[in-house]
């Protein structure tokens, strides 16, 4: 889906380029301009040691700001500090005003569940220092004056330091003084305190300044990562000489590459990594946020400041978060390996649940498939060309003039039949539902929302009106539980005729996008629902949009999720795609990288963007294959399909003004390559499904950076065009035009890791960079020695039709001639797996035997699938014979050895996957 009003479209030239003037720089964002140059000259934050209480897993104490300019050290303001120990080497630090004028907003939906407490002990309290320790043995040292909190790893070394640079700021809420005749009273308010302007937009700022800031130091770190969504490299760069990274969900038309500008998503989690350890912080805040990064290794910053502070070269990265509102609420992850910090974060915000299997297959979308006949023709086109596809998508034009939950009855008079045509082949339909509501008399959603007061209000309390696809629009206020309830009910099959359990939902424009709003979004002084509480009226009776902005899209998709659960009485797993992203999004939806373009740069950017999202909880990520704007010629289209086949969310999509580009509209050779790319995906679909099952259990990224598996290998720290799927496949998609060879980094030299080219089973010992020839058909993918990957070689029209097809197990041996893998099987769409209706099997290979056994023996699933082939790569000493043992029977097996590349193929073991089996080898 696309981004901006047509007025703007008319002004663009043929080269794509964001109109930067529409979006704020730090200097144009009042609090960023105010806080960025902040120096702690006037006051400092100090902890009042007399007030320290440690109760359970919580330390609480009073913190005050002290005037350090005067002799007297006057106390300026009172704050409440809370430090909480949580399981899995995680701490939470909260700092709010002791008695704020109004409650300050805390995000409500980012955390999955209430975090689990760990033990916390006060070890000592002397010399102005508190020392605490959690149950795992991580120490915390709190210095009282000025306040500083150091978190130690298990070796007793500092891993994370809060407020080391005294950039802690919590601007106290104040009452606005009525302007009166005499101005002699007190200090003059800084300009911009009670209102700000950007372009033609006025922000009334009724609560005045309420920004917060904190610096976080990561000693021994080489790099920091995270805080998606940006188009920059995966490793973050020093921001001293430019703009900070910005986190503010925005619909950026034709967004820039290599930029720190905010785009659609904002996940305020940041990780550090060095040879010594990994650590991380999660900045639990939904307001506009800017993040400055200073990497001490960068020559540009080493010069003055850092040398002064550290006395020479040092491995360390400092980050500083600045948010417009909210409280200091930061989670500290002490790792100490990359996988640990990634898990610690996803544990906190909730690992993505198991998606329906079809959603991991190939999706075909376009703005727009124009009518039922078009949908039919595209559906048939896949069959005619023997290319699999699991879902067809309908963008905004399917609706009756952009009124969601309706159909354009001229073009889609029989939606139920259309869906039935698709489902007959195991395919699904996905339709778009955006959060803006057309203001049109007679449109039931608008009338209900108006009557029942379900819309977001403007600064004066009237229904806010903005401009979006339908023209004049209002926005459902998903912060109101009544709205969510109302909205969720819209998904009932009888409320949205033509839909069924096989119709899934795409939530676009949920930043929210407002074409005529400041920065193409909602004015910050719009009012959102706040649960009524006694004594809270006036400004305390609502939240401003500025407080909740980044959480808006999350609220939207959670409503959709609820609706989709309810419509099938909780039987079927919903699939939702969202564009806006916040911490916790992964619990409800997959994410795509928005409105990209058919340019090599965007293909390249898709990899680091998705790696960054994956380590930030959102493994289910992809980009519009082929590019949304512009037209990809055959080579780019081929490379994009090949890359997309190895990214979690695999969808081709395009802009309404562009040339059609279904795979068969290219020349026959290109169509064949696109078919091959899609088939590569389907062959590995059960592998993907297994990865996502394991992700739902362990929270580890499905698409992961090399250093997650090879944390001591420094070269990998900045590689972001190559990644791993699970710990098994290494993917280095070809992202460059016209290349005939690419450099592929094969990690694991020290551990004698062997990598196998998945096309040839040729083995390569890990030895850093290697040149790989890449003709147009080649995608460099390597299987790690020591792993087993399940494949389904019989690729059919859709994944549903492949459910019971046989497996090929690819065993890639390590140096010891061993390997292991796993396989998850269930019905692919229901929640029955929660009642033990699934198979989660471990597959192990040793020279003596290969075993398929159930991890959870309580669970089973009546699959009809079987093993048709076992490919053992890297076999030096092949067995003479093999026999299958299953269900008390023993069957001798046929084997073929391919001497050229040391591959042994077991022909047709016909072992059933419904129960454990074993293959015994004799030599």
């Amino acid at each position: 889906m696309k981004a901006l009003c047509l007025l703007l479209v008319l002004t663009i030239s043929s080269t794509l380029c964001v109109d930067k003037n529409n979006f704020k720089t730090c200097d144009q964002s009042g609090f960023c301009k105010r806080l960025r140059p902040f120096k702690p000259e006037k006051s400092q934050y100090s902890l009042n040691l007399d007030t320290v209480i440690v109760h359970g897993n919580v330390l609480s104490a009073e913190v005050v700001t002290v005037d350090i300019e005067g002799e007297k050290k006057n106390v300026l303001w009172h704050y409440a500090l809370k430090l909480t120990a949580l399981v899995d080497s995680t701490f939470r630090v909260e700092l709010d005003e002791a008695d704020p004028l109004y409650p300050r907003y805390r995000p409500e939906l980012a955390l999955g569940e209430e975090p689990t407490a760990d033990g916390l002990k006060l070890v000592s309290n002397s010399n102005g220092k508190l020392i605490l320790v959690n149950e795992q043995g991580n120490k915390v040292i709190i210095t009282s004056e000025p306040l500083k909190i150091e978190f130690l790893d298990l070796n007793g070394e500092k891993a994370v330091i809060l407020n080391d640079n005294s950039q802690l700021v919590v601007e106290p809420l104040r009452v606005r003084r009525e302007k009166s005749g005499d101005d002699d009273e007190g200090d003059v308010e800084e300009e911009g305190t009670w209102s700000e302007n950007f372009k033609s937009h006025h922000d009334s700022k009724p609560r005045g300044n309420e920004a917060i800031s904190l610096d976080i130091a990561f000693p021994d770190a080489d790099h920091v990562y995270g805080i998606p969504e940006h188009t920059d490299n995966f490793h973050l760069k020093t921001t001293t000489s430019g703009e900070p990274y910005r986190l503010y969900n925005l619909d950026v038309f034709e967004y820039d590459l290599d930029s720190r500008m905010a785009i659609y998503g904002a996940i305020p989690v940041l990780y550090s990594h060095g040879v010594k350890r990994s650590a991380g912080v999660f900045w639990h805040n939904s307001a506009e946020t800017w993040v400055d990064v200073v990497n001490y290794a960068d020559a540009t910053v080493v010069s003055s400041l850092v040398n002064l502070v550290t006395g020479g070269h040092q491995r360390r990265v400092d980050a500083r978060f600045m948010s417009e509102a909210g409280v200091i609420d930061v989670f500290v992850f002490l790792g100490d390996k990359p996988a640990d910090v990634f898990r610690q974060y996803s544990g906190l915000t909730g690992a993505a649940p198991l998606p329906p299997r079809f959603s991991l297959a190939y999706h075909q979308s376009r703005w727009n498939y124009v009518d039922e006949a078009d949908v039919r023709a595209v559906d048939d086109g896949f069959d005619a060309n023997d290319i699999p596809a699991d879902a067809l998508w309908l963008d905004i034009e399917y609706t009756d003039r952009k009124k969601y939950f309706t159909w354009d009855m001229e073009k889609f008079p029989h939606p139920a039949d259309m869906v039935a045509n698709l489902t007959a082949k195991g395919r699904k339909l996905i339709v778009i539902i955006d959060p803006h509501i057309k203001r049109e008399a007679g449109y039931f959603v608008h009338e209900d929302a108006t009557e029942q007061g379900l819309y977001v209000k403007d600064k004066d309390g009237k229904d806010y009106e903005g401009w979006c696809w339908p023209g004049s629009s209002s926005y459902l206020d998903f912060f109101n539980p009544e709205v969510t309830k109302y909205y969720a009910e819209r998904f009932q099959f009888n409320n949205f005729p033509g839909t069924s359990k096989d119709v899934h939902i795409w939530n676009d424009m949920n930043e929210p996008s407002v074409f005529n709003g400041p920065e193409i979004t909602m004015p910050k002084d719009c009012r959102h629902y706040k649960a009524p509480q006694d004594g809270q009226d006036g400004l305390a009776s609502f939240w401003e949009h500025r407080h909740v902005h980044n959480e808006n899209g999350l609220r939207h998709i959670s409503g959709t999720h609820q609706g989709m659960l309810d419509r099938s009485d909780g039987q079927y797993r919903p699939f939702i795609l969202t564009r806006a992203v916040f911490a916790g999004t992964q619990r409800y939806a997959a994410v795509w990288t928005g409105d990209n373009a058919a340019e090599w740069g965007f293909l390249q950017a898709s990899v680091p963007m998705c790696i960054s999202l994956a380590v930030s909880g959102v493994s289910f990520c992809g980009s519009d294959v082929g590019g949304f704007f512009k037209y990809p010629e055959a080579e780019m289209m081929t490379r994009w399909y090949q890359a997309g086949a190895y990214q979690a969310f695999f969808r081709a999509h395009s802009h309404i003004e562009t040339k059609r580009r279904e795979p068969w509209l290219y020349d026959a050779a290109t169509t064949a390559r696109l078919r091959d790319a899609v088939r590569r995906r389907y062959a590995l679909l059960d592998f993907w499904y297994t990865l996502f099952y394991e992700h739902s259990i362990d929270g580890l990224p499905v698409m992961r950076p090399l250093f997650q598996e090879f944390p001591r290998e420094e070269e990998t720290f900045t590689i972001d065009n190559t990644y791993l799927l699970g710990d098994k496949l290494l993917v280095r998609p070809v992202l460059e035009e016209g290349v005939t060879s690419v450099k592929v980094y094969l990690p694991g030299k020290d551990s004698h890791t062997v990598w196998y080219d998945v096309d040839s089973y040729q083995s390569y010992p890990a030895n850093g960079y290697m040149n790989v020839d890449v003709n147009i058909a080649k995608v460099p993918v390597f299987q790690r020695g020591g792993t087993i990957v399940p494949r389904k070689e019989r690729v059919r029209r859709s994944s549903a039709l492949m459910a019971h097809d046989p497996y090929t197990l690819v065993v890639a041996l390590d140096g010891q001639g061993k390997a292991e893998g796993s396989l998850y099987i269930d019905d692919g769409e229901t929640y029955e797996y929660k009642s033990n209706k699934f198979i989660y099997a471990k597959i192990t290979y040793e020279p003596s035997a290969m075993k398929y056994s159930f991890v959870n023996e309580e669970a089973s699933y009546p699959t009809r699938s079987w093993v048709e082939r076992i490919v053992i790569a890297g076999i030096k000493n092949p067995p003479k014979s093999a026999k299958l043992s299953q269900g008390g029977k023993q069957i001798p097996l046929q084997m073929t050895l391919h001497r050229g590349n040391d591959v042994l193929v077991i022909r047709k073991p016909t072992a059933s996957m419904a129960s454990p089996w074993e293959i015994l080898f004799t030599y």
């Binding site: 008319l10 043929s14 124009v370 009518d371 006949a373 078009d374 023709a377 069959d383 023997d386 699999p388 001229e410 007959a424 082949k425 195991g426 309404i656 003004e657 562009t658 040339k659 059609r660 088939r679 070689e793 019989r794 690729v795 059919r796 029209r797 039709l801 492949m802 097809d805 089973s860 009546p862 009809r864 079987w866 048709e868 082939r869 299953q886 269900g887 022909r907 047709k908 016909t910 059933s912 419904a914 129960s915």
Partner: protein
């Protein structure tokens, strides 16, 4: 429990796989999924060699649900090979080849249900029914073509007649053209003769005018000389007949840039490289330069810049009618019925000045010549009209109206189609347009381009190209798919691709029963 149940099923499945099928129609024994024409390639008594020749396998490996050949030829009856082909006989209907990926996938693809043999209860044999339907449909179409063919034959007749008429008209026009050419030549000769006489008579007047003009020139020259001489004397302060640098330096008038002194540059300007000028040199070199300055001084002359601007403006103003002239000339070729009065303007150089009065004799000659000119122009115009008609007829005769001119009478016929938002208009062999029902401009969706059907059915698709350009995109084009129908009308208009329109058009002109039958037969062979 589950396991054993499935193992049983698996075994029975494998048994099914190995089962041979006996075709209903023939007694040729062949493996499942093999067409009759390929049956001989599968001989149970020999090892099987993959079609691509890459390997030879025991015959028991054929259709054993395991892919041994890269080309999939060993598994014609299973889904084991990704690039295999399954043949279904579909007795009672048309046989079909489907990709192996559709074998035993739970979807009935062959009407005889043979592709889903693993679950025999899944698909019923619908071939008889479908075959009947298809045959009925084919019959219906054949009837339609047959009925339409009568009209088509009429269209062909009319088309041929039309073309014949046009050819006749064309040859008549050629004759007319020769006639007109003759008249034109006669009129031209007459015109030339009378103009010569007119010219002779007018010469008297022209000579008189010339004399008058020369006299005026001479007077003017003398006046100038006198003035120059006076000025020379004025600056030649020592009256030595030579104007020196010093003498010039005192004259304010030579201070061109009005900076208070006559500098070297100014001297250079007025005297060239000389130190001094005598009267003769003054007259030829200095005076023409000096005169404007004097006039300026006397307020009779404006500085050069102002002059230049004014000239430029004048030029612009003059440009406008020139452009119009061009337009008029340009449109002449297209539009001969148009007003030709502007032609008069082209001949202004010959025409006498109407404002003057002449003696009666001369006036008579002028009138006669004017009449001759008018007649000549009329003759020319008639000639052009005929030529244009000839071009039109030639163009139409060159147009491809189908193999038998069946579309000839449809040329220029306009058909409309309305949908929710637009009214589309197809003027056959001319253009396609779209007009919004909410008003607004008519948008061109393409002008007649060519027949664009695939090989063998060239006349089934018309292409209208070069319509109005899309924003940020290509020019609109329209493809018109032609089907047989008893009436001539548009049955649908869609825009399947951005700016690429598709019109379905029925007409008896497309009802060719012989051609249709031929097509049907060739389809069956596939």
């Amino acid at each position: 429990m589950i396991y054993s149940a499935w193992l049983k099923k698996l075994q029975s499945f494998l048994i099914i796989v190995f089962t041979w099928v006996i075709s209903v129609q023939t007694d040729v024994l062949r493996p499942r999924g093999v067409s009759l024409s390929k049956a001989s390639l599968y001989s149970p008594t020999k090892d099987f060699t993959c079609f691509d020749g890459t390997s030879t396998i025991p015959f028991s490996y054929v259709n054993d649900d395991y892919c041994d050949c890269f080309d999939g030829s060993d598994e014609p009856g299973t889904s084991a090979c990704i690039n295999g082909v399954f043949h279904c006989t579909n007795a009672g209907h048309r046989p079909q080849n489907i990709p192996s990926s559709q074998v035993n996938d739970g979807v009935c693809d062959c009407c005889d249900g043979t592709d889903e043999y693993a679950t025999p209860e899944l698909c019923s044999n619908t071939c008889e029914e479908l075959g009947k339907e298809a045959r009925a449909k084919a019959q219906h179409l054949a009837d339609l073509h047959k009925a339409g063919n009568f009209i088509r034959l009429e269209l062909i007749e009319k088309g041929n007649k039309k073309r014949q008429d046009m050819a006749e008209q064309l040859s008549q026009l050629e004759k007319d053209k020769a006639e007109a050419q003759k008249i034109k030549e006669e009129k031209e000769a007459l015109k030339n003769e009378l103009e010569a006489k007119e010219n002779e008579a007018l010469q008297v007047y022209r000579d008189a005018e010339e004399k008058e003009r020369q006299k005026k020139e001479e007077d003017e020259r003398q006046k100038q000389e006198k003035e120059a001489s006076e000025q020379f004397s004025r600056f030649d302060s020592n009256n030595d007949g030579v104007l020196t640098v010093d003498e010039i330096k005192v004259g304010n008038i030579f201070d061109k840039n009005k900076d208070g002194e006559v500098d070297a540059e100014e001297l250079q300007y007025f005297l060239g490289d000389k130190e001094s000028v005598n009267k003769e040199e003054f007259m030829s070199i200095t005076w023409p330069l000096l005169k404007p300055l004097l006039m300026m001084e006397q307020g009779m002359f404006r500085p050069a810049e102002a002059e230049a601007t004014e000239e430029a403006e004048d030029e612009e103003a003059e440009d406008v009618p020139r452009v119009e002239d061009m337009d008029v000339t340009g449109s002449e070729d297209d539009n001969l019925d148009g007003d030709l009065s502007h032609d008069d303007a082209e001949d202004h150089d010959i025409e006498p000045d109407n404002s003057k009065s002449y003696d009666d004799e001369t006036q008579k000659l002028i009138d006669e010549a004017t009449e001759a000119r008018r007649q000549f122009m009329d003759a020319e115009r008639a000639m052009r009209e005929i030529e244009s008609n000839i071009r039109n007829f030639q163009q139409n005769l060159e147009k491809d109206y189908g193999l038998q001119q069946e579309y000839a009478t449809l040329d220029g016929q306009c058909l409309e189609y309305e949908d929710k938002e637009y009214i589309y208009k197809l003027c056959l062999f001319q253009k396609v347009t779209q007009k919004s029902k909410n008003g607004g401009m008519e948008v061109g969706l393409g002008d007649w381009g060519e027949w664009a059907g695939e090989e063998g059915s060239k006349y089934s698709v018309m292409k209208y190209s070069n319509g109005v350009a899309c924003w940020n995109g290509p020019n609109r084009i329209t493809m018109v798919n032609i089907h047989c129908g008893l009436e001539t009308k548009l049955t649908s208009v869609t825009e399947p691709y951005r700016c690429e329109y598709k019109i379905d058009f029925i007409t008896p002109a497309a009802c060719d029963d012989s051609n249709y039958m031929q097509q049907q037969t060739s389809h069956d062979e596939l």
